[in-house]
Structure formats: structure tokens, C-alpha cells
């Protein structure tokens, strides 16, 4: 039986009733079937490889590769449910493009968390916004690792990433889970963020957060550890993402600060806007060399790759008003409750050589910024980002490219029936101009209850996809991915 959208919503709301107030549940039930509840729906099992149906257009002849994406896809079990969007089980999606055809498969990361919860028939692990359950057995942070946030190619292995534990290695062809990655025996169970920064040459930088200190990971392109060092931080800010130039690591320390050791994780943080935002710049070659910049208070999850102009450092950012979405909104999304939330806007931060900071706020709704991986840390002018969320829906319906040289944003709106995921930038073969590239990414077609894959031409983004395909399954919204050409 395929449940109606309304019964799905009411089921979700009822299962999650413990987290939301009765008023909110009533509001959700009264609302006219918010279709987007499918975006945080449950996938019952792994998705076997299947061909997608071509809807229109033709795939570029010279485009072949695999788009891997990761995001939570199981939130609810009979004995208890996750209470936050960030706490569902990671489902790794594999869209393989070749010779104009697309094949989709998807497998849950076979984590200890998932095994324990399947055995119990209940989601019991504490997480970002899910409180601890006494039934949970947790001897290590990795026992609660949902492996649900992003993926990284490390040599020939695909790593599923969370942010509070180890990477989980998978076979990139079969998506079979191989195990938790320990980069050095004395660093077992150290956190590894879901936003590594990969230099054009392949060297991988990442952080792991531990309150007012961070571990800085440096890996060779094949995923072996080159160095791991602890650095002190001026405050115990929430860091989901950092950025880098060719020479610097840049840590934005928003005023959402960990003040208590408690679970769920988000409950330990307090919003302290009066303290503003600090930005720590560390030399890659000598992690003890650092500068601290200051700017106004804002919340954020995601940054774009940074670059330099003279002695200035620049990077783009999806600016939130505060961290209410992390603390509250992303819990209500899972409960099927419409948001009254703010949308994030695109910003550009310039850290000047004289030590001052300039923050430019664009009137452009934006999240999930991406750019050309071959220009990571280097001069660039284009940012790819999702756009067109409204206060009523927490998800984007359009994809956009903002050009920093002109200040212009061009976008394509897939329409109210689509939840548009982050898209990746894929340079055309032999391209020299930054606009000579494809964007590749999925949307969830809520009306058709189906996942779609789209290829757009950056230079003619407004014209819409050059090709689209549709699957016979609907996978919920995902967070982040990577393209392997």
C-alpha cells in the first residue's frame, strides 16, 4: 500500500509527538498536506541498482562518472524515533552516469548504531537533537555514529562521514560497508568533520571538534595520515564546516557556544550574539601561526572555498540569522511541522590584510555552497548554491550560480513540487573558463513521488536541465556529495 501524503504526515507527526507540542502537531495535521514531508521520510531498505528513466534532453556525450551523495533516510522505528533531521541513518546514494544512461543504487551505511537499532526496533542513539535512551549501548562515540552527512573519496575507498566520530569506509562500486577508519591507533574514535577541504592536488585537510580545541587532520590524496595536531580555539563554537585557501585554514567561530556537556549535543550550546563572531586563520605550514578576526554575530553551517586577493582572504558563506534551525527547526522538520523559519542568505567575508573584516550580505537566499574543486583555495568567481526556500518550507526548489565579479545571481526554479539538493560542479573536458561546466544533482519530485537527477549547463543555467532522469523510488533530501569523474 502506498500511503497518502496526508497519512504519511499524520503518521510521522504521531510518532514524533513526544518532541513537539500538541499545538504544533495540530497545526501540522491542519495544514494542507505539506508535500515536503517526503523529504524527511523513511527508506525501509537498501535500494538495488536500477536504471533511471530519461525524462527529456540528452546527456552530454563526454560526461561520465558517479555522483555519490549521503543523507539521513531512516528516522522512525516502532519502539522510538529520531527527533532531529541530523540523526537519521546515513543512506549513500550512487548515481552512475555513462553513455547517456543513469543507474541509481543506494545503501545504508552498516553502522553499529543501525545494527543496534534494528535489533531493538527503536531509534535509541543520542545525537545532535535526539536525547539519549537508556536502552542504548554506547562504549565509543562511533557506537552513535550515524555516518549520514557526506562522503569523501580517500584513494580508492569511499568514506561516509559524520562529524562526531570516525569515517566509515565503503566499497564505491557495491556500497558495501567495510568498517570504521582509524587513521592512527592513538587517534581511534577522534572526530572527523563531514566537510574536509581537498586541495586541487588531492591533499585532504579536515578538523575534528572537541570543545575549545580541534584536531587538524592532514591526509595524502590516498587517505593516509600525514599529520594530526591539536590546536586551541578561543571559544567552544559549533563548527560544522571550515574553509581554506592554498596557505590557510579558516575557522569561523560563531556565537553558538558549547557551555554544557550534555545530550542531545545541541542542548549544550547557547546563542551569545553579544560576543559576535570570531574568525581564526591558521597557517597550514605552521599551525601555531594564527590570526583572529572579529565580525558581527551570525549563525552558519556552510562555507565556500576561500581564496586570496593581495593580502586579503575571501570566502562565501550561507548566513543564518542565528542557530534556531539547528536547535529547533531541524527537529520540527522531521515531525512534519511547517517552519516559521528564516532562510539563509549568501554572504561574502573579506578578511583584510590590515586585520579588519568586511561582511557583505547579498539579498540572495542560499544554502549548500559549492564551487569548482580544481579552484579550491584559489582565485574563483562562481559559487553554486541552492535557493528559493520560503518561510513555509525548509527545502530549496531552485539551483543558482552567483558570480562575484558581477554580483549577479542566475537560477533555475524546478517548481514548488521539487526539493532540490546540493549540486556538484563538474568542469567540461578541456574547460578553461569557470562557467564552462555542468551542475549535477538530484531533486525529489514530490508530486511524482520520485527522485530525479538533473544535468545543467552553468553557462545557460536559466534554461534548465540539459537532461533529466527519473527513478522509480523516492529518496529523502540528502546533505552532501561528491563527483568522481
Amino acid at each position: 500500500m502506498i500511503p497518502s501524503r496526508r497519512s504519511f504526515l499524520m503518521g510521522a507527526a504521531a510518532l514524533s509527538a513526544a518532541v513537539v507540542t500538541p499545538d504544533l502537531v495540530r497545526a501540522a495535521q491542519a495544514a494542507a498536506a505539506p508535500d515536503w514531508a517526503l523529504a524527511t521520510g523513511d527508506v525501509e531498505a537498501d535500494v538495488a541498482p536500477r536504471a533511471l528513466q530519461r525524462l527529456h534532453g540528452r546527456a552530454p556525450a563526454d560526461l561520465s562518472g558517479v555522483l555519490f551523495r549521503n543523507g539521513p533516510a531512516r528516522f522512525r522505528r516502532p519502539g522510538g524515533s529520531a527527533r532531529h533531521w541530523f540523526d537519521g541513518d546515513g543512506l549513500v546514494r550512487r548515481f552512475a552516469l555513462s553513455e547517456g544512461r543513469v543507474e541509481l543504487s543506494a545503501r545504508f551505511v552498516d553502522t553499529r548504531k543501525r545494527r543496534q537499532e534494528e535489533r531493538l526496533g527503536a531509534m535509541v542513539m543520542p545525537g545532535f537533537g535526539t536525547p539519549p535512551d537508556p536502552r542504548a549501548e554506547i562504549g565509543s562515540p562511533d557506537d552513535a555514529n550515524a555516518a549520514n552527512t557526506s562522503v569523501l573519496m580517500a584513494g580508492d575507498r569511499l568514506w561516509a562521514l559524520w562529524e562526531g566520530g570516525s569515517p566509515v569506509a565503503m566499497d564505491p562500486a557495491s556500497l558495501q560497508t567495510e568498517g570504521y577508519v582509524t587513521l592512527r591507533p592513538d587517534l581511534r574514535s577522534m572526530p572527523f568533520l563531514a566537510h574536509p577541504r581537498v586541495e586541487p592536488g588531492g591533499r585532504i585537510w579536515n578538523l575534528g571538534m572537541g570543545g575549545d580545541q580541534a584536531i587538524v587532520w592532514r591526509l595524502s590524496p590516498d587517505g593516509t595520515l600525514e599529520d594530526a595536531s591539536l590546536i586551541p580555539l578561543p571559544r567552544a563554537s559549533y563548527i560544522h564546516d571550515f574553509t581554506a585557501t592554498a596557505r590557510h585554514l579558516i575557522l569561523v567561530l560563531q556565537p553558538w557556544v558549547r557551555e554544557r556537556q550534555t545530550l542531545p549535543f545541541a542542548d549544550g550550546f547557547a546563542w551569545r550574539p553579544e560576543t559576535g563572531t570570531q574568525i581564526l586563520v591558521v597557517d597550514k605550514d605552521d599551525l601555531t601561526r594564527r590570526r583572529i578576526f572579529e565580525t558581527e554575530a551570525f549563525g552558519f553551517f556552510h562555507l565556500g572555498d576561500a581564496w586570496t586577493e593581495g593580502g586579503d582572504i575571501l570566502f562565501d558563506i550561507a548566513l543564518h540569522r542565528d542557530m534556531d534551525f539547528a536547535a529547533r527547526g531541524a527537529a520540527e522538520v522531521v515531525a512534519g511541522v511547517p517552519l516559521d523559519g528564516e532562510t539563509a542568505h549568501l554572504g561574502l567575508i573579506r578578511l583584510k590584510a590590515d586585520g579588519s573584516t568586511n561582511l557583505t550580505r547579498l539579498p540572495v537566499i542560499a544554502e549548500f555552497p559549492r564551487s569548482d574543486p580544481a579552484r579550491a583555495g584559489l582565485s574563483r568567481r562562481l559559487s553554486v548554491h541552492t535557493t528559493a526556500e520560503t518561510p513555509d518550507t525548509p527545502f530549496a526548489r531552485a539551483i543558482a550560480v552567483t558570480d562575484w565579479s558581477s554580483g549577479q545571481t542566475r537560477s533555475f526554479d524546478f517548481g514548488a513540487d521539487h526539493v532540490v539538493d546540493e549540486m556538484v560542479y563538474v568542469a567540461k573536458p578541456g574547460a578553461t573558463d569557470e562557467a564552462d561546466a555542468w551542475l549535477i544533482g538530484p531533486s525529489l519530485n514530490l508530486a511524482e513521488r520520485a527522485t530525479e537527477l538533473h544535468v545543467l549547463d552553468v553557462a545557460h543555467l536559466e534554461a534548465g536541465p540539459v537532461a533529466s532522469w527519473r527513478a522509480d523510488v523516492a529518496l529523502p533530501a540528502a546533505f552532501h556529495g561528491t563527483w568522481v569523474g
Binding site: 542504548a136 549501548e137 562504549g139 565509543s140 562515540p141 557506537d143 581511534r188 574514535s189 577522534m190 572526530p191
Partner: protein, 141 residues
């Protein structure tokens, strides 16, 4: 042990009844990841001691490079017991932790009990000993 007790019972059968406190052996066999260092085992006979306010009643140490992977606590009075064990893989005499304080060497408890963001609780880890008892404890990362 059972045989010994049976023999003792036969020998005493003709004698006037005397107070005999039953004892038993508790054997833990460890399933290890690496054959280096030592397995350190502490045996507790009460929740209070197990929770940190008392000393273990016995301790054991197993050479992980040897063929014998068992630690036997012999002749224990009947009662409730639990162990804490860790594999000191590098043999430095302490449980290693990562820079954020999380253990990096394997640890385990009787019943293979697992905690909830900390050591296993007594109610999950303890065993009631009335006769000889043996458990295999998984002690590998």
C-alpha cells in the same frame, strides 16, 4: 570444582553437619584482537565497589602473547560479581586514550555488557555465582 565438592561431600557425609560455604570458580576467556601486551582484569563483588567507591576483590593479568587466553578466579564465595577488563595492547600499564580522552585500547565488562556513554552499569554487568561459571569476553576494537 564440582567433582571436588562432590568428593568433599562424600567424605563429610558420615560426619556431623558442619557449616560449609559453597565456593565456585569464575572463568573469563578473552577474545583478543592483537597478541601483544596484557589483559588487565579487576573483579568486584558489590555495586558500590564496581561503581568506584571500593577496591576489587581480586585482580588478574593475562599475557596476551601466550596461548592461554583465560583468567580464572578460584574458590569464590557464592554471590554477585562483575569484572572490568581492558587490553593493555602496548603494555604500558595504563588504558590509553585519544587526545579527547576516549579510550583507544579495548575494554569490556562481564556479560559483554556495554555502557551508555560510560562504563557498563552493574545491573547489566554482574553475574550471580552459585556454581562454576565461564564467559567469553570480546576484547577487540
Amino acid at each position: 570444582m564440582k567433582a571436588l565438592l562432590a568428593t568433599a561431600a562424600l567424605m563429610l557425609a558420615a560426619a556431623p553437619a558442619v557449616a560449609q560455604e559453597a565456593t565456585a570458580d569464575l572463568t573469563f576467556t578473552f577474545d583478543l584482537g592483537q597478541p601483544t601486551g596484557y589483559v588487565m582484569v579487576a573483579l568486584y563483588d558489590s555495586q558500590a565497589a564496581f561503581d568506584g567507591s571500593g577496591e576489587p576483590v581480586r585482580v588478574g593479568r593475562l599475557d596476551a602473547s601466550g596461548a592461554d587466553r583465560s583468567v580464572v578466579f578460584e574458590d569464590l564465595p557464592a554471590g554477585d560479581y562483575a569484572i572490568k577488563a581492558f587490553h593493555d595492547v602496548d603494555g604500558d600499564g595504563r588504558m590509553a586514550t585519544n587526545p579527547f580522552g576516549m579510550p583507544t585500547e579495548p575494554f569490556a565488562f562481564s556479560n559483554n555488557a556495554v555502557g551508555n556513554m560510560g562504563p557498563a552499569r552493574w545491573d547489566r554487568a554482574h553475574v550471580t555465582v552459585t556454581t562454576d561459571l565461564a564467559q567469553t569476553i570480546h576484547l577487540a576494537n
